[in-house]
């Protein structure tokens, strides 16, 4: 098969009708999810709207102004009207700086008198104007990013993706530059452990984090600035990505958009399954955050790869594919073109078993074939990595081979020290040098290799597609929440009303007002 970007990959014969059926089923699932999403808003979504309106700062205690504002509104059960409305009203009433606005909101009665029609209309018009000009600025910022990318050009695929995670943004910058100089195309800054559970986005530049660096707008800015400079020096555009899944999904998406990030880890399923975040909450946040990504041309990365770090990668291969169909449908609903839907998958089958390469080829090629236009992201072995770095290195190399031959779009390079610590400078160098070698050595093999008809690879791919379809039938019939309740994904069961953040969800009122949403939906 020939990919849109011109690369050839081995042909994989699939039952087209089964594929269409999977898409139709995923669409049904998306309908159900969207039906709920359209009737609700969340504290994070509302805060995102306010952020667009220019409220980027935080109070002395470090609590963001948007949190203080939205908490006051939500505490009064007024979120359904839309935070932008109440803030607009406060401003019209003379409140200038953020804290003054907070004060006003704090003085709102539980059941405030409905404002006069034209008064309300005026507030909304003003806010719309504000929002439009802010959106225009946002556009020009992302346009600048796209221009630089076009000017410098991108590296050939797969893009080599590495993570930095020193906990200190300044060390991160140093490590990111080093990685870029060693050949990395994409730099991901890992978040501090459990930031996804915080219902606010920390503020400013940070130098202390656990297992990662706090995702803050300022940290985004610092890193993007460094990478812009490095991109120019190297004459190769360097992509930046970070993590949005979690309780602040849409706000981080906004900060990422504003600071010109290129990609974003963005998946409600990750939060639900691995962070025990309430599904209603995060599905609403996800939709809004994806609309922001669509507006800002940010590639989302989904987290299906994580399912097979808990479930058995071989037995649960079909759950990855089923979830990808659902994620694709949800992404399309949020206005994301295929070119922005970076579905995730990975090379995780237990290396103690036989014929793992045939089965990994089957999986990687299946995903590639099902989503030819998507910038799919291929994750390396992690779960079965061992402290024996020489074995782990060998294991990663097989993933490099599969990634190259099956024409993956983005490859997160495995680290030989995966079982030990976050990557060291030298770990990244070793991974990049080896991947370069493999890409070079296997250059034409994608168009050279054919897999035997009716062979292990083909049969395995067809089996996985079949099982994915069965699972999708179930999900479409019983709904996503029910399926998650049965631990269909990642062997983890979650309930619709359990998990963190449900209290942050509110029904939209009949006169719900969110100028940002209007712009995104119009875009």
């Amino acid at each position: 098969m020939q990919l849109p970007d011109g690369r050839a990959v081995p042909d994989l014969r699939l039952d087209r009708s089964a594929v269409e059926r999977c898409r139709a089923l995923a669409d049904r699932v998306a309908d159900q999810v969207l039906a709920f999403v359209r009737r609700h808003t969340t504290v994070s979504v509302e805060r995102s709207a306010l952020r667009l309106l220019g409220f980027h700062g935080a109070a002395p205690g470090g609590v963001p102004h948007v949190n203080l504002m939205v908490d006051e509104i939500h505490a009064r059960g007024l979120l359904g009207r839309g935070a932008a409305f109440w803030v607009g009203q406060a401003m019209r009433a003379g409140a200038g700086d953020p804290m003054a606005i907070v004060g006003r909101l704090a003085s709102l009665p539980r059941r405030p008198p409905a404002p006069a029609r034209e008064e309300a209309a005026a507030v909304e018009e003003e806010m719309r104007r504000e929002a439009r000009s802010a959106a225009a600025e946002l556009r020009s910022r992302t346009a600048a990013r796209d221009a630089l990318r076009a000017e410098l050009g991108e590296a050939p695929r797969p893009h080599r993706y590495v993570i930095v995670a020193t906990g200190n943004i300044h060390d991160d910058v140093e490590q990111a530059r080093a990685a870029a100089q060693a050949g990395a195309d994409v730099v991901a800054v890992i978040r501090s452990t459990a930031q996804s559970l915080l219902d606010y986005v920390p503020d400013g530049a940070t130098a202390e984090g656990y297992g990662g660096t706090w995702a803050t707008q300022e940290n985004f800015r610092i890193m993007r600035e460094a990478l812009d400079e490095e991109s120019r020096r190297l004459g190769r555009y360097l992509h930046l990505t970070n993590y949005s899944s979690g309780l602040c999904m849409s706000e981080i998406a906004f900060a990422a958009a504003w600071e010109r990030l290129d990609m974003l880890l963005n998946d409600a399923m990750y939060g639900i399954l691995f962070r025990d975040i309430n599904m209603r909450r995060t599905l609403c946040d996800q939709h809004f955050s994806r609309r922001i990504c669509a507006f800002a041309g940010i590639v989302i990365n989904t987290g299906e790869d994580n399912y097979i770090t808990t479930a058995d990668a071989d037995e649960a291969a079909h759950t990855v594919v089923a979830s990808q169909f659902i994620n694709e449908a949800l992404a399309h609903r949020a206005g994301l073109r295929d070119e922005l839907v970076g579905l995730g998958h990975s090379f995780e089958i237990d290396p103690e078993r036989e014929d793992t390469v045939a089965r990994e080829f089957a999986q990687a090629l299946l995903v590639r074939t099902l989503f030819p236009a998507a910038p799919i992201k291929y994750m390396p072995p992690t779960k079965h990595k061992r402290g024996d770095i020489f074995f782990s290195h060998a294991y990663d190399l097989m993933a490099d081979v599969v990634a190259r031959v099956t024409g993956q779009s983005i490859q997160l390079l495995g680290m030989m020290t995966e079982a030990m610590h976050n990557p060291l400078l030298m770990d990244r160098y070793v991974a990049l040098k080896s991947a370069d070698y493999v890409y070079r050595a296997w250059k034409s093999m994608g168009g050279e290799i054919l897999f035997r008809e009716g062979g292990v690879v083909e049969r395995r791919a067809q089996e996985t597609l079949g099982r994915a379809r069965e699972l999708l039938e179930e999900v479409a019939r019983d709904g996503l929440p029910a399926a998650i309740g049965r631990a269909r994904f990642g062997d983890v069961a979650r309930s619709e009303t359990g998990g963190k953040g449900l209290q942050g969800v509110a029904e939209r009122g009949p006169d719900h007002f969110n100028p940002f949403l209007e712009i995104l939906e119009a875009a």
Binding site: A178, T193, A194, K383, L424, L425
Partner: protein, 251 residues
């Protein structure tokens, strides 16, 4: 090991030649100066006959080195004191019978991965029916009443539950170890248990890929389990230890 000392040294090509392999990055661009600096670092580590195998341009201003050399370091393996959980293992059925007979009730065990650590796979491997490496998890044992609370469990909440449920044992998993979070976190649980006055009556086990028995003891736990632990190791240890505390022995 026999009585006498047992000196051991690294072995590459010939017994006791002391050969070790080393790699690291220095913030210097590749060149003769960087080579000398790397050799000097190796010498400061006591290496002799250092061979610089490679000096790689890891990044601008950084060189990655691979070296080989001989260390004079020798260790008396016999003199080392070794903290180790030793479990004489019984089969699944036998262990259950013995436990139920001797205790006359089921052993209550709570398991969790605590603090902000979201890595549940390890504790699941020990607790869940399914188990690990073809070895049943504690939930499968009739002799155990095992409850797996999963990951991201607050220490305070876990301690409270231990008290309420009158748990015989609490199994804590710690996987994330950056900046030593696991140490603080593990100690915190012990404090909470003491605050509630239940520490004495409960067996506290700590486990994780970077945990060993020595560390667990240091952090105030009764036992520690590292990578590759099997549920049956834990089951056997628990039964034996509980009996021991009742003045009986498992035989």
């Amino acid at each position: 090991m026999s009585g006498g000392p047992h000196l051991v040294r690294p072995y590459g090509d010939r017994r006791g030649d002391g050969v070790v392999q080393l790699s690291f990055v220095l913030p210097l661009p590749p060149g003769e100066r960087a080579r000398q600096a790397a050799l000097e670092v190796a010498r400061k580590m006591g290496l002799e006959g250092v061979q610089l195998a490679s000096m790689e341009p890891a990044a601008e201003g950084y060189s990655f080195f691979v070296l080989y050399g001989r260390t004079p370091a020798a260790v008396d393996a016999a003199a080392l004191e070794v903290a180790e959980v030793v479990v004489r293992k019984k089969g699944f059925d036998e262990l259950n019978q013995v436990a139920l007979r001797e205790l006359g009730r089921r052993i209550v065990v709570l398991g969790a991965c605590t603090g902000s650590d979201a890595h549940a796979v390890g504790i699941d491997a020990i607790m869940n029916m399914k188990g690990y490496a073809g070895d049943f998890g504690l939930e499968r044992y009739p002799a155990f009443e095992a409850v797996n609370l999963g990951a991201q469990v607050e220490n305070a909440a876990l301690a409270r539950l231990c008290a309420e449920r009158r748990a015989d044992a609490v199994l804590v998993s710690q996987v994330v170890t950056q900046r030593d979070v696991h140490r603080e976190n593990a100690r915190q649980l012990v404090d909470e248990l003491e605050r509630l006055g239940v520490r004495g009556g409960i067996l506290a086990l700590l486990g994780g890929p970077r945990i060993d028995h020595g560390l667990a003891l240091e952090l105030g736990f009764d036992a520690g389990f590292g990578p590759g632990t099997r549920p049956s190791d834990v089951a056997n240890y628990l039964v034996a230890e509980l009996l021991r505390r009742l003045g009986r022995t498992l035989h």
